[in-house]
Amino acid sequence: MSSTVDRRSGRIGRRSFLERGTLGMLATVAAVLTAGCGGSSSPSSARPSAASSSSGAYVSEEARKLVSAAASKGETTLTLSWSGNTLGGVEGYRKFEAVFNSMYGTNMKIDFTPGPSMTDMMAKVSQEVAAGRATSTDVLIGTDSHYVPILDRGVLEGYDYATLSPWIRPDMVAPNQIGVEIYGTTAGVLYNPGLVPESAVPHKLADTLDPRWKGKIASSPDAAYLDIVTLRPEWGPEKMKAFVTSLTDQVAGLLRVGEETRIVSGEFAMLVMGNTHSVTDLKGAQIKVVIPTDAGVTRFVYLGVPRTAAHPNLAKLFINMILSADGQRILYDVYSTDHYELPGSRSAEDLKAQGIDKSQMLAVNIQLVAQHPELKQVNQDLSRILREKGGK
């Protein structure tokens, strides 16, 4: 949609304002009509009028305030740093930049630098905030395992993200309002179909203990997903530790996130466990994924703004943008995943196409993990077993 936007000042022109006002009125009408149709109850804080979430051009009053605040503080560049492929890496940030500027009528630039893993970046940001320094990234990405330890440490700024847009539901906002869910990652066993015939594909975790896989399986140094699988009713910490102790005899090596191509090369026959969307990302390669029926979990990934971020207003607007319809579309295009609970989600379609019932999947978010403090010790124990070969 064209607009009379002054791209130097970022101010929205009159014509664009009229268009947005019209959409806002339509959104209000739609909200009134759909108010009785279920969905999460609103918190006490006022929620913005809701247009259809497919309208990427909608900008709430709160978001416009952030745009003005960014302009007045001279925030013109958003500094982002995360592991190279996350959110599509270089390709992703260019597309997000275009959607951002189109949505808000700005001329913002994203300064993206591929950085270390989520864990290492969380550690870096934590110490930068503790030292009162501007952080290396204006937006911090992480899962529950990264956010739960810092819930009460004042690392991330608390902000009522639900006021930004109708597509940000209050239950998507992390405790203490330190972040928002932006997409889900589903766990699965990644395998090389050239080495694992269809008849031998593991449909339960215990199938990976088949002696034929001895010395051919990889796992991860941090026991990815295996800790949260213990929250499923079939498992529990002790049962999972026993499984991993047996699994470690099968394991030939440990792969970090991003090394899934070593399954493609045949160095390992399968990875227990990895991200299912990695397979979509590696389209055309010799790699497939199966979600074990007794280990179906989806873990949400969050974005939050560090307390000492140099460009906090742009950072919040970025988070809002990525959850818009256009933002989620770009996210799926560049990263093969999106938030499966948002309307129009293609991840939801993927799960349906694979015959996976979402209701059978355990959705793991910060709220759930915060209720299980024992998970920290479980993860440490599982990691130690995998790393140290069960202590033998």
């Binding site: 630098t113 591929p114 290396s136 090369s265 160095e267």
Partner: protein, 592 residues
């Protein structure tokens, strides 16, 4: 003897005292030494302080405790990692010395042609990322997918691969190939300066070439070889790329990957206290190695061969043995340079890294080159270029100050200075990086150090001080004092003696050291990754971050483009190498 007596006489006379007995109130070289020692001590102290800390500095959770030491020393896994590290490092030393020292002897002491080409090829390996070499060897000798492993199993009918790269020795082999270039440069200078008199005497008495090498050359080269061995050992101790690619994915942990796995606590926060406690073991090793090296240096007079008396390095004629020599050098070049380069080219053409096959060939494309983040590469290149100029210049300056004081002066602090010069190298760079980060973040808040290229440069200079001092120590050791004594007796001032006598003789070592330190600065990864911020990202960090996110093809493409851009530097090195070879040849005819 007369020269020594004269020196003694001169030394006793106050105003006529030469450079050796120059006792100004404060020797100018201390201006180089004192700040360097202060930085070394400051960083080490900050690490020692951190070793007693748990929790994040600057937060309410931070508290002092000895638990870091207890948990490290009581951890059987840590001891296993240290045992692996020892095996890995010793293997790397053996391989590096084998290829590096023999190649250095062939280049400097024989009439083997193509010396400049050998110098250039040895330099080339520093431009290739170490992790690509490691990946390449996985595809050669991995027990399941290794091409050579598969072939050997078919040939012998074995069900398991007879050779495997996924062992401590295998990792040491790869690391040794990477470090042979350093062994080459560290020993080549000594070979170049060695007086042929003793060799000639041995040959004149009927000694065969093998006996000459064993009874004359090797003993004379002992200080240089021992120094090179110690240096390479400590590099291997702290190296990360080969253990991360081969070891980590096969659950073989060394010190660096152990630290990597322990860097972040279960709280998701950095736990530098544990790492700092582990480093205390490394400091003890450093002290031991420094002591052993000091013992070798103490007996250095026995190895002095460059005197004021008709010094002309000689060359051994190889004759038909040159074919064997070329086979040896060729095999090393193929394994350590050609193969990784071919692998780099292969990876750059593929979207998904896979062994060569007909299907893989059909997937080759330019996609990775088109997808390179050029603005990021330019940013990294700018930062790296700054480091490549500043670090060798400052390191050589500081090293000269240390080396002169250690080798040429009679200061009572010589042993201590040598200890300080060598210590930073024996302490893993990761630890100095942690100390530097802590100091910049929390203590020197008023200075714009944190996240800057300057901070990385400071750590590099300290880290590479030992390389510079080893190079210059060896060079200065080979120069007998009688040259300077002669100048003093003739009335030259200390500064003139240094400028006219000493500087020309050590200039090759300085130039050589500068180029090598520039290349080492280009290649360094561990500290750059630790101190990484978007502002100070270096080229190796760009490549590593892209590589570790699974984009092997794009990482390979970036590496190839950089290699091409650095060709002018390689060309310069080739030209310098030819001139060095020419001047070596001019110093004396070859003799059998």
């Amino acid at each position: 003897m007369q020269a020594r007596a004269l020196t003694g006489a001169v030394a006793d006379s106050g105003p006529a005292a030469g450079i050796l007995q120059w006792r100004p109130k404060i020797h100018p070289l201390w201006a180089l030494i004192v700040p360097t020692v202060a930085i070394i001590l400051g960083l080490l102290y900050s690490v020692f302080w951190l070793s007693f800390l748990q929790g994040l500095p600057g937060t309410a959770q931070a508290h002092f405790t000895i638990d870091n030491y207890i948990s490290i020393y009581a951890d059987a896994f840590a001891l296993t990692a240290l045992k692996n590290t020892l095996g890995f490092s010793l293997s790397a030393v053996a391989v590096a010395l084998l290829f590096g020292t023999v190649t250095a002897w062939l280049t400097e002491r024989t009439d083997l042609p193509g010396k400049a080409a050998i110098y250039t090829l040895m330099t080339l390996s520093l431009l290739l990322p170490g992790f690509f070499t490691a990946m390449g060897w996985l595809f050669l000798l991995h027990p399941r997918i290794g091409i050579v492993s598969q072939w050997l199993m078919r040939l012998t009918g074995l069900t398991e691969a007879p050779l495997s790269i996924t062992t401590v020795a295998g990792m040491g082999w790869v690391q040794g190939l990477n470090l042979a270039s350093l062994a080459f440069v560290l020993t080549a200078a000594s070979f170049r300066s060695m007086d042929p008199t003793l060799e000639e005497a041995a040959r004149a008495n009927g000694a065969r070439p093998f006996h000459v090498v064993r009874r004359i050359v090797l003993p004379l080269m002992t200080p240089g070889i021992v120094a090179a061995a110690m240096y390479i050992f400590t590099i291997a101790l702290a190296s990360f790329d080969v253990p991360a690619i081969i070891g980590l994915s096969n659950r073989i942990y060394t010190f660096s990957t152990y630290v990597y796995s322990k860097k972040v606590s279960a709280d998701g926060l950095p736990q530098y206290g544990g790492i700092a406690a582990m480093s205390s073991m490394m400091v003890l090793v450093a002290i031991l190695i420094s002591y052993l090296y000091g013992r070798v240096i103490k007996r250095a007079d026995r190895y002095q061969v460059v005197t004021g008396k008709g010094y002309r390095p000689d060359r051994t004629r190889l004759g038909r043995r040159a074919i064997l020599a070329w086979l040896f050098v060729g095999a090393y070049v193929a394994m350590a340079k050609v193969f990784p380069l071919l692998l780099l080219i292969w990876a750059a053409g593929l979207r998904f890294f896979q062994p060569p096959s007909a299907q893989a060939f059909s997937q080759l494309s330019w996609q990775n080159f088109r997808g390179m983040p050029l603005d990021l590469v330019l940013k990294g290149a700018t930062n790296t270029a700054q480091l490549m100029i500043a670090v060798p210049t400052l390191a050589i300056l500081a090293s000269f100050g240390f080396s002169w004081m250690i080798v040429r002066s009679r200061s009572r602090l010589r042993v201590l200075l040598d200890f300080f010069a060598f210590l930073p190298h024996a302490v893993p760079g990761l630890i100095f990086g942690v100390g530097a980060m802590f100091v910049a973040l929390f203590l020197l808040k008023g200075l714009p150090l944190y996240g800057s290229v300057t901070l990385i440069a400071i750590v590099y200079v300290v880290q590479h001080l030992s390389f510079g001092t080893r190079l210059l120590n060896t060079s200065l050791l080979q120069i007998h004092r009688d040259l300077e004594e002669a100048a003093v007796i003739s009335g030259a001032s200390g500064l003139r003696t240094a400028r006219k006598i000493l500087a020309p003789l050590v200039r090759p070592a300085i130039l050589n050291g500068w180029v090598w330190l520039a290349l080492i600065s280009y290649r360094e990864l561990t500290v750059a990754t630790l101190l990484f911020t978007p502002r100070n990202i270096t080229l190796p960090t760009v490549v590593w971050n892209v590589w570790s996110s699974g984009n092997y093809g794009v990482a390979a493409a970036i590496s190839l483009v950089l290699l091409s851009c650095l060709m002018p530097l390689i060309l310069i090195y080739y030209i310098v190498g030819r001139r060095t070879a020419a001047s070596s040849a001019a110093r004396g005819p070859a003799r059998i």
